[in-house]
């Protein structure tokens, strides 16, 4: 009984919105020159660029809701330049893009959810470095600009270092989602520390309920949600330096400190702690997993997931009212401050043409960020945007979490080599959720990593 009348009504409304959205492939989400958007940046870009008759192909991991949102941004690029843009999303983007670039039939631009994979492709000379000046622009205009530059700077085939990607759309990962009214019904308080969170978890179990919904399923990428858990736990049990060493393989994956962090995640995976029992964790799709919050009686009370997850809440859910989030807290006793884990998608040119370069310019205009952030599920490190535009107040609060962070670290699995961060780490976590010990899982991943380092 997971659905509600509201959901059904919502579906109708969303279907209408959907129709409006596609019918508006030509029309635009927000009329130009209306509202507090940075329309100057739009006009400046539009006046300088004319790509009539040219076409641009983009492929990326976004599907359904995210796809519609991204296409609403593309509409402005088309409007401004006259170019014909097509975007294709794929659930197995990571494999599809490899097939395509290896064979030389790549799209013009690829949207990489993982800098690690982009790194691999850059090493092989399969992607084109960013146009001149991008590096300086990022350094100046992004919060912590240099770190965003470093994250996308790789060695090319000749061993020279270049900037290969531009981050657009960031996510905060250290969030826990819950339904305020359910907390109210049960009399639960939002925990401020990890100790409190564990106490709350145990209290919910004592009350005969299930505290957590965890789903690791994601088609070909099954297992990745667990990597976020582990990374969050590493940041909450070890200083950030250890995290960096771990990600760059300066310490082995089966280092005691990492194994400990995996065990910390294991705490939440206990049979009574998670909806459906631990055996259901790995087979539950991460997109279906939050549905448990919305059923009644609730299947679970909390869900640890990145900032984009509201896209997969039942249609019609008002974030901030029907559902809300709190910061995944840190241990009080560890005294490691307020670490925050984040991620982002990075745009890279996989088949260069004029339109692709122009699109990279477009992503450097505030308007390209504002269009999406005024809707949903979008955070940006760009400092020149009008933060009043956030589509819902929660997005603004997430940005605050980003700003309040005493430690900010990028999603480690996205930085590891593809075979680990998008392979062994995932499968290792699935095995762990399936009953393997933390040590076994870590050993298995370390073996795979050692093999490719040889």
């Amino acid at each position: 009984m997971t659905r509600t009348i509201t959901a059904r009504l919502g579906a109708g409304v969303a279907a209408l919105a959907l129709m409006a959205g596609t019918a508006g492939a030509q029309s635009l989400m927000f009329p130009i020159d209306e509202g507090d958007f940075n329309w100057d940046s739009y006009h400046e870009f539009a006046d300088a660029t004319d790509l009539s008759g040219q076409s641009l192909t983009i492929s990326g991991p976004w599907l359904s809701v995210d796809q519609e949102l991204f296409e609403s941004v593309l509409a402005y690029f088309e409007e401004a330049t006259g170019a014909d843009v097509s975007y294709v999303g794929s659930d197995s983007f990571e494999q599809q893009i490899v097939i395509d670039v290896e064979a030389g039939s790549a799209p013009n631009i690829g949207v990489f959810p993982q800098p690690g994979l982009l790194n691999t492709l850059a090493n092989r000379g399969l992607v084109t470095p960013m146009p001149e000046g991008t590096e300086e622009w990022i350094a100046e205009n992004y919060a912590a600009g240099q770190s965003w530059v470093d994250l996308a700077t790789f060695e090319g085939p000749e061993g020279e270092e270049d900037l290969y990607g531009l981050f657009y759309k960031a996510d905060v990962k250290s969030l826990v989602w819950y339904i305020p009214e359910n907390f109210e019904d049960a009399g639960y308080e939002i925990p401020e520390t990890m100790e409190d969170l564990k106490a709350l978890t145990e209290q919910i179990v004592e009350d005969g309920e299930t505290p957590w919904c965890i789903g690791l399923g994601s088609g070909g990428a099954t297992g990745w949600p667990a990597t976020d858990w582990v990374e969050d736990m590493v940041l909450r049990t070890q200083p950030p330096e250890v995290y960096d060493q771990w990600v760059s393989h300066e310490i082995p994956f089966n280092d005691e400190r990492i194994v400990n962090a995996i065990s910390e995640f294991g705490y939440f995976l206990q049979d009574d702690f998670v909806a459906g029992g631990s055996q259901a964790v790995a087979s539950t799709d991460f997109r279906d997993s939050p549905q448990g919050l919305f059923s009644f009686p609730p299947q679970c009370y909390m869900h640890h997931m990145a900032s984009f997850i509201p896209s997969f809440f039942p249609e019609g859910t008002v974030v901030g009212e029907d559902a809300d989030f709190f910061y995944f807290p840190a241990y009080e006793e560890e005294d490691l401050g307020q670490p925050v884990l984040g991620a982002g998608t990075v745009f890279a040119i996989t088949d260069e043409n004029e339109a692709a370069n122009a699109f990279m310019q477009f992503l450097q205009t505030p308007i390209a960020h504002e269009i999406w952030m005024a809707q949903s599920g979008f955070l940006t490190p760009l400092t020149t945007v009008n933060t009043d535009l956030f589509g819902d107040p929660t997005l603004g609060r997430m940005n605050e979490i980003l700003l309040d962070a005493t430690t900010f670290r990028f999603d480690g699995s996205d930085l590891m080599p593809g075979a680990i961060g998008a392979g062994a780490f995932w499968t290792g976590m699935v095995d762990f959720a399936g009953g393997a010990s933390a040590q076994e899982a870590a050993d298995e991943i370390e073996d795979a990593w050692a093999a490719i380092d040889q």
Binding site: M1, I99, R124, G219, G220, A282, P297, A419, G423, G434
Partner: protein
């Protein structure tokens, strides 16, 4: 250009082009190159006839060499090279060594062996059963065509169908997957013991008997030395016997496990994540698809058995089971072998089912998916190609056997 129009054009061009090619090249051969006239018409006819087969074969050979031959060689090359920026370097057997150190590879290998044994065996046995049962009943053809139907369904479609069957909901909710709904009916009482322990136990016992019979049938001619056996034949028989022995061992352990296991009655199960057994839940999909294929071939073979043979057996007082096992099965042994090997090849190549349902997680990896994983996820062409070569090696016995048969037929 509209793709549909493009399609029609492609058909027209291909058919007309092929027709024209064959017609004109034949014409050229007969009229221009070696006309059956001139000084020595006989020699010219012979020459033309020596070339003509190659005219007929040329397009097919071109396709086969380019699309199947070249990739095999390329894969072999990739499997012994390592990729470095800017090219490839010789790596010897490093890739194979690396692969053999990976537990995932051995998991895939073990699972593949399990698939290779279970799917062909069960599909063939069920196919034979259906073929025999439907042979004499009035609505047999309708039954056959319904059982044959899954052949038309894609692996992806079948995966969707079976995902619905294996669907899981927490205990507090209404189950929408048939398997869990059925499972929750069991409560540990007498009926549960009967259905879940005794019946499968008996089935496994039957399976052991069949495997033992197979070993005996394989080894008998060699041991008793009734007929002279070629080395290849002995090798093949030994290999099959070993396989059957492994099977018996697995079946015995399964029976013991079945008797001792503590079944979680009343708890809905996530079927696809139960290690080892989930392999069988995946195999069911392929068995569901392949049984119809086995049935069609075996049914035709059964009909090919001369009535006199069967009648003579009846006169001798043989019962229906004796007739089936003593008379009919030996007669169609050749067809059974063909069915078996065809399904075996399908099993080795299939990856869609695993890809769509578990993607090799929860210890369900198979070689084809492992290879895809290495090629496109880890970007490790060396190991991926090495895995492909392992698959090639596994099909080689069948390949040799097929070729051996094809040659024998031609004589």
């Amino acid at each position: 250009m509209n793709p549909v129009f493009q399609g029609v054009l492609a058909i027209a061009v291909a058919v007309a082009g092929c027709g024209a090619y064959f017609y004109l090249s034949n014409l050229f051969l007969d009229r221009v190159l070696y006309p059956p006239t001139g000084r020595d018409p006989g020699r010219n006819v012979n020459r033309a006839n020596a070339i003509r087969p190659w005219l007929f074969l040329a397009p097919a050979i071109l396709f086969l060499a380019l699309y199947l031959g070249y990739p095999v060689i390329e894969t072999l090359r990739l499997s012994v090279t390592d990729r470095v920026p800017g090219g490839f370097v010789w790596a010897g057997f490093d890739n194979y060594a690396q692969m053999s150190r990976e537990s995932k590879f051995w998991e895939a290998f073990r699972n593949n062996l399990l698939w290779l044994i279970v799917v062909p065996a069960v599909s063939t046995a069920l196919g034979l059963l259906v073929a025999q049962l439907t042979d004499r009943i009035s609505w047999g053809n309708v039954a056959k065509s319904l059982i044959f139907m899954p052949m038309a369904i894609s692996f992806v479609g079948a995966s969707v169908i079976f995902k619905l069957i294996y669907d899981y909901r927490p205990a507090s909710q209404e189950q929408i997957g048939v398997l869990n709904a059925v499972w929750l009916q069991f409560d540990g009482g007498l009926a549960s013991v009967l259905v879940l322990r005794v019946v499968p136990g008996l089935l496994l016992a039957g399976f052991i008997a069949a495997a033992a019979w197979l070993i005996w049938a394989m080894l008998e001619p060699v041991l008793l030395g009734r007929r002279k056996q070629g080395a290849l034949s002995i090798l093949l028989r030994a290999a099959l016997s070993l396989g059957a022995l492994f099977l018996i061992w697995r079946a015995v352990t399964s029976i013991i496990g079945l008797a001792l296991v503590d079944l979680p009655y009343g708890q809905p199960q996530t079927w696809l994540t139960i290690p080892f057994w989930n392999n069988f839940f995946l195999m069911v999909v392929l068995i569901w698809i392949q049984t119809g294929f086995a049935m069609v071939l075996l049914s035709a073979a059964l009909r090919g058995i001369p009535d006199e043979t069967v009648e003579a057996a009846i006169v001798d007082g043989a019962g229906p089971f004796q007739i089936f096992f003593r008379i009919k099965v030996p007669q169609i042994a050749g067809t059974i072998a063909v069915v078996w090997t065809t399904i075996t090849v399908t099993v080795l190549k299939v990856f869609d089912i695993v890809y769509a349902m578990t993607n090799g997680q929860w210890e369900t990896q198979v070689l084809a998916n492992y290879m895809y994983d290495k090629l496109f996820r880890s970007n490790d062409w060396g190991v991926g190609s090495a895995a492909a070569i392992v698959i090639m090696l596994l099909v080689t016995p069948i390949l040799v056997w097929n070729i051996y048969n094809a040659r024998r037929e031609m004589r």
